[in-house]
């Protein structure tokens, strides 16, 4: 009796789970089918399969990819370059800084650490306006453009991502026994050798976490690149390109959804391959942050 009751509640729960999954995934389904239709078919019936055809999908995608406001390949390339370089530099410089802060208990390291933590509450809106003027002036002063440039935006991500990166890495480094470093130093390792040969390799799991958290943020970020790169500049990331494209094509839904599809595909593919790491990374980042 009791077991039958249990199987029936489990069955009910399974049905609920399936219904919710359909609800959650339905928007993705709509994006896919409506990217395969001409505009008039979408207005006629947005949830049906009438008008769906692969040639139509290819034609929509072609229109979007070659659109001068969107330029998918260029935006995709810039997004990848900016995200990857920012992540590599954040991981390297973040680990270096976190190690120094963690292993030197001086007044200065404490001040730096708490400045980092306190800065995490600062909303981007407070700094974005003076940031643009500072970057413009610095760029003019030193003769290297900082706005509408890839190095400029990577530098900005280094500054904005630094605090959280150091905070999470610091928590991990604290747990590494000092004996390890002392032994290395007795064996004749210089401090930088100790860091690069012994500490840095041990940080692999926590660097994965930090990279996933920063990666999700940088890849999807809209406000910072839109302020720093502008809507009409040569350098655009994917979210900025989507916004520029939609702004220029009012209500051409088949093209807008095809653009959305192109913007979604890379990250969904990545998720299929690294699902476990991404979900675990997001959880750990939240629990430690």
């Amino acid at each position: 009796m009791k077991t039958r009751e249990k199987t029936s509640t489990i069955a009910v729960k399974l049905v609920i789970a399936i219904v919710i999954a359909i609800y959650v995934l339905f928007p993705f389904f709509l994006v896919v089918i409506n990217s395969c239709k001409p505009t008039d078919m979408i207005t006629a019936n947005p949830i049906g399969f009438e008008g769906v055809s692969i040639p139509q999908l290819i034609s929509n995608l072609k229109d979007v990819i070659n659109n001068t406001h969107f330029l998918f390949w260029s935006a995709f390339e810039y997004s990848v370059i900016i995200t990857v370089l920012s992540l590599v530099l954040l991981a390297l410089f973040g680990a270096m800084a976190a190690w120094v802060i963690c292993r030197n208990k001086t007044k200065w390291s404490t001040v730096i650490y708490f400045t980092f933590i306190a800065s995490m509450i600062i909303p981007f809106q407070v700094v974005m306006l003076p940031l643009i003027s500072t970057f413009r002036d610095v760029g003019k002063f030193i003769g290297i453009p900082m706005l509408q440039s890839v190095p400029g935006i990577i530098f900005a991500y280094l500054g904005f991502g630094g605090a959280m990166t150091v905070f999470i890495l610091n928590g991990f480094i604290k747990g590494i026994p000092m004996d390890l470093e002392e032994a290395a130093s007795i064996d004749g390792c210089s401090p930088e050798q100790t860091f690069f040969r012994i500490i840095f390799p041990l940080l692999k799991p926590v660097i994965t976490t930090v990279t996933i958290l920063n990666g999700m943020w940088i890849w999807n970020d809209y406000l910072l690149p839109s302020m720093m790169l502008g809507q009409n500049g040569k350098v655009k990331t994917l979210p900025v390109a989507v916004q520029a494209f939609v702004g220029s094509y009012v209500k051409q839904w088949n093209l807008i959804l095809a653009a959305a599809l192109l913007a979604i595909i890379p990250i969904v593919i990545l998720f299929l391959f690294a699902q476990k790491q991404i979900m675990e990374g997001m959880i750990e980042g939240a629990v430690k942050g």
Binding site: I10, K13, I16, A17, I20, A21, V24, L25, P27, L30, N34, T43, P46, F93, G94, A97, W99, V100, N104, S119, I121, I122, P123, F124, Q125, V126, V127, M128, P130, L131, T134, F141, I142, G143, I144, L158, G159, G162, S190, P191, E192, W219, N220, D221, P239, V242, Q243, I256, L257, A260, A263, I264, I267, V268, F271, M279, M282, I283, A286, V287
Partner: protein
């Protein structure tokens, strides 16, 4: 103690001097406004050479300190230029008539007093708070229920977790446009058929606000669910077993065991939903762009019915070109966020102790 080779000494001093010379040359050109395009390169190469010289500096005693400085410098420099300097400048600019490029003079508190006389801004603050309250309650409730579902004994748990989390991967701008399509093209089909209501939810302020809440839950609940699942999994199995032996039913177990035991998780999730809802910008921009009419608020007709704080600041500064005014609003936003976060953490800590 070994001796340093002549070569290392030469290299160190050579790099230090060359670096300094290059940097001074670059700075002199920058200050002299000669327009020489080499000055940026000179500065960067000079700085790198200087640090290389510092690294090779022939000392045993101070080597550790030098390494510390070199290790800290890149991140701290970027942090100072992108966060600290703009923050200080921004707070300063909020008391001036800065227009994004230059300022003519100080205006004292004028920007701050002006914003409280602007009904549209007061409205933005109010609906932001409303949005935050809705989200803290609804996102946490939905996420917690999903977590209970995803820790039960149903099949395909891995699939369901991944599926519920999926919307969180996609950026707010793209999500916003997808849902704009759904609200104005798909849902209107049903409402036309059922109630003969042909207008999109997004065209009316109240329903558009509900629309933003729906999209936000859809995007965020899956992520918060993952954190609740982790929390629920930390409850030891024997505690649950003991409670079932003692005859506790599912509801009793939920309220007397599970919820008290995951109090720290609830704190984390409340904090996350609170701060992220406050800063909400992308979905707001893409879904409604802040539009929506309000017939009468403080005796005024408003057209920014769904414009939340972050978007209001953006449009004040970037769209209307009132940089100093926008910056003053941003400073207030910062203060509100700081106060609310601190209060929330305090309350949660207290409650955790009580539980």
């Amino acid at each position: 103690m070994g001796e340093f080779s002549v070569m290392r000494k030469t290299a160190s001093f050579g790099c230090l001097i060359a670096g300094l010379v290059l940097m001074i040359w670059g700075l002199a050109m920058a200050i002299g406004k000669t327009g020489n395009t080499l000055r940026g390169g000179a500065l960067v190469v000079g700085a790198v050479l200087f640090f290389a010289g510092l690294y090779l500096f022939p000392t045993f005693k101070h080597h550790r300190t030098i390494v510390n400085i070199i290790f800290l410098f890149p991140l701290l420099f970027a942090f100072a230029v992108t966060v600290i300097i703009p923050l200080v400048l921004g707070i300063g600019y909020s008391f001036t008539d800065w227009n994004g490029i230059k300022m003519k003079g100080f205006v004292g508190m004028a920007n701050y007093t002006r914003m409280f006389k602007q009904p549209g801004f007061i409205w933005s603050i109010l609906i932001t708070f409303l949005f935050v309250v809705f989200n803290i309650i609804l996102v946490n409730l939905v996420a917690f229920l999903l977590a209970l579902l995803c820790t039960s004994k149903i099949k395909g748990l891995g699939f369901f977790r991944a599926a519920y989390f999926l919307p969180n991967l996609i950026g707010g701008i793209v999500l916003g446009y997808i849902w704009q399509f759904i609200f104005s093209n798909v849902i209107t089909k049903f409402t036309t058929a059922l109630f003969d209501a042909r207008y999109s939810m997004l065209s009316e302020t109240k329903t558009a606000f509900i629309g933003i809440v729906i999209v936000y839950i859809w995007q965020y609940a899956g992520y918060i669910m993952l954190i609740y699942i982790t929390g629920l999994n930390t409850i030891p199995g024997d505690v649950l077993e003991a409670s079932s032996i003692d005859g506790a039913n599912a509801t009793q177990t939920l309220f007397n065991i599970k919820i008290p035991m995951i109090a720290p998780t609830i704190t984390i999730c409340t904090f996350l939903t609170l701060t992220s809802a406050f800063k909400q910008f992308d979905v707001n921009l893409a879904l409604t762009n802040g539009t929506g009419s309000v017939a009468d608020f403080m005796g005024n007709y408003l057209t920014n019915g769904t414009e939340m704080l972050a978007l209001n600041i953006y449009s004040t500064a970037v769209i209307n070109n009132e940089y100093a005014f926008g910056e003053a609003k941003a400073v207030l936003f910062f203060i509100i966020l700081a106060v609310v976060s601190i209060v929330q953490v305090r309350i949660s800590n207290k409650r955790e102790v009580e539980l």
